[in-house]
Subunit: 272 residues, 2 copies
Amino acid sequence: MTTSQLTQQIRQKKSFLCIGLDVDLNKIPKHLLETEDPIFEFNKAIIDATHDLAVCYKPNTAFYEAYGLKGWQSLEKTIHYLNENHPEIFTIADAKRGDIGNTSTMYAKAFLEDLNFDSVTVAPYMGKDSVEPFLQFENKHAIMLALTSNEGAFDFQTLEAHGKELYKQVLEISKTWKNSERLMYVVGATKAEYFTEIRKIVPDSFLLVPGVGAQGGSLSEVCKYGMNDHVGLLINSSRGIIYASAENDFAEKAREEAMRIQEEMSAILLNH
Amino acid sequence: MTTSQLTQQIRQKKSFLCIGLDVDLNKIPKHLLETEDPIFEFNKAIIDATHDLAVCYKPNTAFYEAYGLKGWQSLEKTIHYLNENHPEIFTIADAKRGDIGNTSTMYAKAFLEDLNFDSVTVAPYMGKDSVEPFLQFENKHAIMLALTSNEGAFDFQTLEAHGKELYKQVLEISKTWKNSERLMYVVGATKAEYFTEIRKIVPDSFLLVPGVGAQGGSLSEVCKYGMNDHVGLLINSSRGIIYASAENDFAEKAREEAMRIQEEMSAILLNH
């Protein structure tokens, strides 16, 4: 998917919501555990109930790998279901991969070609040759960690390196890489003012923003400082939506929560 | 496995060789492609031919994920084969994972508990709460990227942050984390002199060293600067050993190459 197709979808749905499919078998409604593939059934129900309110779904691969072979199968079924039934949706394999060149090439092939995700999240620590293999696919994207939303973000990402925080160096240096126009970035919502500085470095890139809601970030603040003229933001919510209820009405409640956020987004887009 | 058990094995086998099981179906002998699980059959043959010369095997998860469900199954069979037949061997899931706390917990469970690897490689970029979940398991280890052996290592890892290269900050700060005695570190062999500085920060830790041989690092130089009194080094070789031949004699040739390295190691240990 191109970024202009993504923006088009955002304008159409009046939403830039990304729903994180981080499925934990201990948290989903009990009756699903009797089905053959509880994770997929859960995802399918969530997608069916919310696909007109969200522009993006993001399964976190950890939650699938934790269930071994069966988990991997659920991941495959989920992405196939999305690609077949909702080809307009932007999909993210939240995998945070990154390794030496030949290895990153294998990961890129696995997620962007074989599973056919639109994008995959990557870690920057190993530098250029660990990320460029993810940027070789036309209309596909690598979403690189810049400033994350967790406490540990302040261990290294905000260290000053040559008079500039590391995450800013990461943003700047990555712009020199081959096919860097296919990069997007993870930027946590915990400190909305950071977006002003970040937009100076990457004015045009899409930013995937975790940490709104549960982790304390404010949607309107993030939009105020982070939105650009083609929107340029994907706001992720995982647990707040998918675990809005653990009862039989989980999909309905997920829809209510997604709609609450979508309405807020719609108002913001109207004024933008 | 404890680090003293690992050192004991090293002394016994006169080897600190780690063999990387990075299996590419395009590179293995053609006759294996007719078997039901070519990746596992290849690994089994390599392990059978080299287990008395190596103390450690390291499957890189990318090479398994690239083959989807079947690849994941091959990974499971490989680690089960190692744990059942060679419980003295130290095993590394080379996965380079790292995510927010609850997600890292899922990865840690997947690799250290369910698959029962002795260790897993992790990336430091997201800081303390992304790594500590991997350190919760007794006699298990997280092997954190410090200074890698690829070209991109010089993009961020060697940036000066507060007067000290980032990889040194990573080493120092990680020592303050909970259960940090279960940490090991990835340190590439490309510049052996770096080991002197690194040993000042982490004198006792085991270091996993890629980049000897194919990537140009010298074994004797690395040992000169990096070895400590319980050896403290695991030297990895992947392609140099497992693809020593692409013919029917691949296992035999792998053994010859492993033995060549082991003999060099044996001589070094004798003089250490």
